[in-house]
């Protein structure tokens, strides 16, 4: 705990966005059973209330970061320190990952059901979550009757139903078509400003990450590590369609693309930092 406190002060001074850290990853290594190194010495701080995107090519370990944060797996070396003891997590996968034999209501109810909340007690919460994702009135539909975008909305509603303090999203819109994806980006941006939850968003889309995030951490592959950090300056509240037309948006996209390019070109992180900052 003491160590945590010192880390906080040093970091808070270095980074302009002043918010208390929620979780700190220090020198995290993750080596899988098949000897593949997914992460090597990852340092990452996630601040309360921010929208953080992890951007990088496939194989950079960005999904592994989410699995570590969710506690599904532990680090091989290094430490992950949460400020709060048991933060309420919500998880959204790349696939909707719904149970096809349950209707929309039962799918969204699932996290509460597993916590022992009865159907009737859960009803207001489930309905609220469905409303938040724009699916009020679809409670009785079965997943197979829904489009890909709607299934993803159900998946997000399920993550929201526990009122999580941290929302972990693993390329949630990667499998959707461009138009659906833009719409869901808009809705997520709006939803996010009303929720106030911390979001960790894994993506390989530069535009998506710039549009949604307060901060982008660019990762490089083999071995996975963080190589650059980009702070998106626009106020989060103004993230509606208009933001995509702003010069700030375009500039940040260029900056982010360059950072990603460097990350994929496998140059040293130090050179990159000099170049970008």
């Amino acid at each position: 705990m003491n160590k945590m406190a010192t880390l906080t002060t040093t970091k808070a001074a270095a980074i302009p966005v002043a918010a208390p850290p929620l979780v700190t990853l220090r020198g995290v290594h993750k080596v899988f059973a098949n000897n593949v190194t997914a992460l090597e010495g990852l340092d990452l701080e996630i601040r309360a209330g921010e929208f953080l995107s992890l951007l990088g090519p496939s194989g950079c370990g960005k999904s592994t970061v989410l699995r570590l944060l969710s506690g599904l797996t532990g680090p091989t070396r290094g430490e992950i320190n949460w400020v709060a003891d048991c933060p309420e997590l919500g998880f959204v996968f790349q696939e909707p990952t719904l149970t096809p034999w349950n209707d929309v209501f039962a799918n969204v109810w699932l996290p509460l059901r597993l916590a022992g909340v009865s159907k009737e007690k859960a009803r207001p919460r489930v309905e609220e979550a469905l409303e938040q994702v724009g699916l009020a009135g679809f409670a009785k539909a079965y997943p197979r009757q829904l489009s890909g975008g709607m299934k993803m909305r159900v998946s997000i509603a399920r993550a929201l139903v526990t009122r999580p303090t941290v929302l972990l999203m693993d390329e949630p819109f990667a499998a959707l078509d461009e138009i659906t994806r833009l719409k869901l980006n808009d809705d997520l941006a709006a939803l996010r400003s009303s929720l106030g939850a911390t979001v960790v968003f894994v993506t390989h889309s530069v535009f998506e990450s710039v549009y949604l995030s307060d901060r982008i951490v660019v990762m490089a592959a083999r071995p996975g590590r963080a190589v650059a950090e980009i702070v998106v300056e626009a106020p989060t509240q103004s993230r509606q369609e208009g933001f995509r037309l702003c010069k700030a948006y375009a500039d940040t996209c260029v900056q982010t693309s360059e950072a990603l390019h460097v990350a994929m070109g496998d140059r040293s992180p130090k050179m990159l930092k000099g170049g970008m900052a």
Binding site: R67, S70, G71, L72, L89, F91, F93, E95, T97, T99, P100, W101, N102, D103, L110, P111, R113, L114, A115, Y142, P143, R144, T162
Partner: protein, 261 residues
């Protein structure tokens, strides 16, 4: 009824009808003796006149089939659940299940008749053939839950029991039902084969026994009538199980998905 439905029912019905007419016509034209090949009309009339005997036999065979299927369901699902709990148990027992499956039932039947009373032996034979497809499918089904959902359940700290009841069991249902459709037909075949192997030793009087008996007496029309009943029983079992599967999966499974155009 749509055009597709009409074609779906009418075409096979027409083929069957034409086949039967040709059969009837040829038998009459060449005056084939009934002990060689009875005409369809004679088979039907035999079925009607011998109905009391044949229906009793049908009931015997059906009850053996259904009992065997019931025991196979309970046994296979129970064992599959056990397999799902521990890889070691699966390793220990699976080879025996395979051995039971690949050994032809006709070859085991005479042996079983030595150890067991004929009624029980026939039941065990039908059980043995119905058991394996159910076991194999259910075992596969229980281990094929979406791994992301498994992660999700783990993340929300689901108990083992919750994971089993809310995830693994429903995931296994389509596999189980596919196995059930195979096993339904096989249970009937197992019962018939075992009855034939039991032959005169069988005091029970199932349909297979009627066929053997009618053969000895050169009562070929009755042989055909019994054969017809076996086919109809098999088809009925298949249709019922298909309907059950459709009813259980209609809301969610791709196999039951209509073409939504």
């Amino acid at each position: 009824m749509s055009k597709d439905d009409f074609v779906g029912y009418a075409v096979p019905a027409l083929t069957l009808g034409l086949g039967l007419i040709a059969w009837e016509g040829l038998v009459r034209y060449f005056a084939v003796p009934t002990y060689l090949l009875p005409a369809p009309s004679l088979i039907i009339s035999t079925l009607i006149t011998d109905w009391p005997t044949l229906s009793a036999s049908l009931w015997v065979t059906l009850s053996i089939t259904l009992k065997a299927l019931g025991i196979a369901i309970i046994g296979s699902v129970g064992l599959a659940i056990l397999f799902a709990q521990s890889r070691l148990v699966e390793r220990a027992f699976y080879p025996f299940a395979v051995a039971m499956q690949v050994t032809p039932i006709v070859a085991i039947a005479p042996l079983l008749l030595i150890y067991l009373s004929p009624g029980v032996a026939v039941l065990v034979c039908a059980f043995l053939v119905a058991f394996f497809p159910l076991l194999a499918n259910t075992t596969l089904g229980l281990s094929s839950a979406d791994h992301n959902l498994v992660d999700l359940f783990q993340m929300y700290r689901a108990s083992r029991m919750q994971q089993f009841m809310l995830l693994r069991l429903p995931s296994a249902l389509p596999y189980f039902l596919a196995g059930l459709r195979i096993s339904g037909g096989l249970a009937l075949i197992g019962a018939i084969v075992a009855e034939i192997a039991a032959g005169s030793a069988g005091q029970g009087s199932g349909l297979a026994y009627r066929i053997v008996e009618s053969g000895f007496r050169l009562n070929i029309p009755r042989m055909f009538a019994a054969l017809l009943l076996i086919s109809v029983a098999g088809i009925t079992i298949h249709l019922l199980l298909t309907a059950l599967s459709h009813w259980l999966l209609r809301d969610w499974h791709d196999s039951e998905r209509g073409r939504e155009t």
